[in-house]
Symmetry: D2
Subunit: 143 residues, 4 copies
């Protein structure tokens, strides 16, 4: 069965760009996380609940991005989000940033680790988290 | 007696600028607050202590800025911070953003209100706060 | 005749908040400008065109905001944008940040000045700009 | 011969943190690039010159970071920057984010590609760039 597809769209704003006229690379991660927050809310795991319950239990431990073509102010970008990998205590999220004509502008990946309140790694992802994100697991990476 | 003078310096970075080649106006407030944080630490009121003690008790209730000349990447800027006004439950901080030749690039102002933990306005600024900032009160605004 | 009403909505994201658990004040201006960019595109004056034509001819010369209640991650905010004032060479934009229940969370204002390419103030706003924004002029401020 | 060591320091500010009380991951890249800009200026390649000469000829094509421990407001962080690799048309910069006690808080890496004005990959890094960064090449990666 094909994994479910989650998409999120945004416009590149003036404050996203820098004096070189293109998106400042670091801001791509802000948009990636906006997509991730929206995704987590949709699958029933809104970050504000996790944080308000006392602690963010899924800190980001790795992030990376590849930039294929410049993004400029006014560009409309669609983010296609999939779960790239689910491991015992962590999961990886993959992002494709696409232009309206389907051109790939950038890709990104973030890795989220389940920890205990004292900061130590948790025994494992909770079933709630695992079940929520599993339908979005990319087919090339079977669990 | 002249008020004490607090200064803070920063460089305009690529991510501060936008595609128009100048500092994006909203980022000026980030630099103003950096100066404010540094000032508060110097006068013995580090924000991290206030926040870690349970709540930020001095939320910002007003901010404003005037932009006199464009700031560009690589510019060195000095921020001159003074206390503009001290009222019963709030105080105002004034910022002058100056170029190395003394030219005024921008000014800003922020107003900070003492509140209780439940969000209601506090009876007044604590003596600790009042005494810490009083030496920096601008002379045109006697208490 | 009532002025036209322009609205823009956004969600408060994790990166909008700070360790005090609420929107960092400076980020409100980023959202205000997002609303302004969207507005300018709708009225036929997309900023990317102005910038790509060689220079941003409408630099922001003043900004201010008042914060009425804290905004937290996950909050849905509606921005109501009106033109507050039109002068010979500048115009002011007013923003109301409203919660879903209509509560006012914050207000903001930005002033934009028409300049020439060399940085000197222009003779006046162009008719194109004036005509585009006039329908949104707030009724309490007749031209 | 040991490579030269370039260091850059910053304080974690309130706007760097989020409601979870720690540095928002994406902001690490802003600080990494601040270190890079300062480094480039020191080695005689200030970015503002490259950009003002008409175009940023060294766009960032890859970025990554690993987060080892949370950074909080008020933390003083030292960035140790080295050149990780020099290839025909690109170079990689490595960053170590260290606490005052020497603890490693995070690492990051950025890859910069020389391109022509039309966006096509350049024939190679210029001698000016190669000679400027070579003294900082990490010893584990001989050219």
């Amino acid at each position: 069965m094909d994994p479910r597809r989650f998409t999120y769209a945004f416009n590149v704003r003036l404050h996203d760009t820098d004096a070189a006229g293109r998106l400042f690379f670091g801001h791509l991660f802000r948009h990636a996380h906006d997509a991730y927050e929206t995704f987590m809310t949709q699958v029933g795991l809104p970050l504000e609940r996790l944080i308000r319950e006392g602690e963010l239990l899924l800190p980001l431990v790795h992030a990376e991005a590849d930039y294929h073509r410049p993004l400029r102010q006014g560009d409309r970008v669609q983010v296609v989000l999939t779960i790239d990998e689910i491991r015992a205590r962590s999961f990886a999220v993959a992002y494709r940033f696409e232009m309206p004509d389907g051109t790939l502008a950038a890709t990104a990946k973030t890795v989220h680790l389940r920890i205990n309140r004292d900061g130590s790694p948790a025994a494992g992802l909770s079933d709630e988290i695992r079940n929520a994100i599993l339908p979005y697991l990319h087919e090339d990476h079977p669990q």
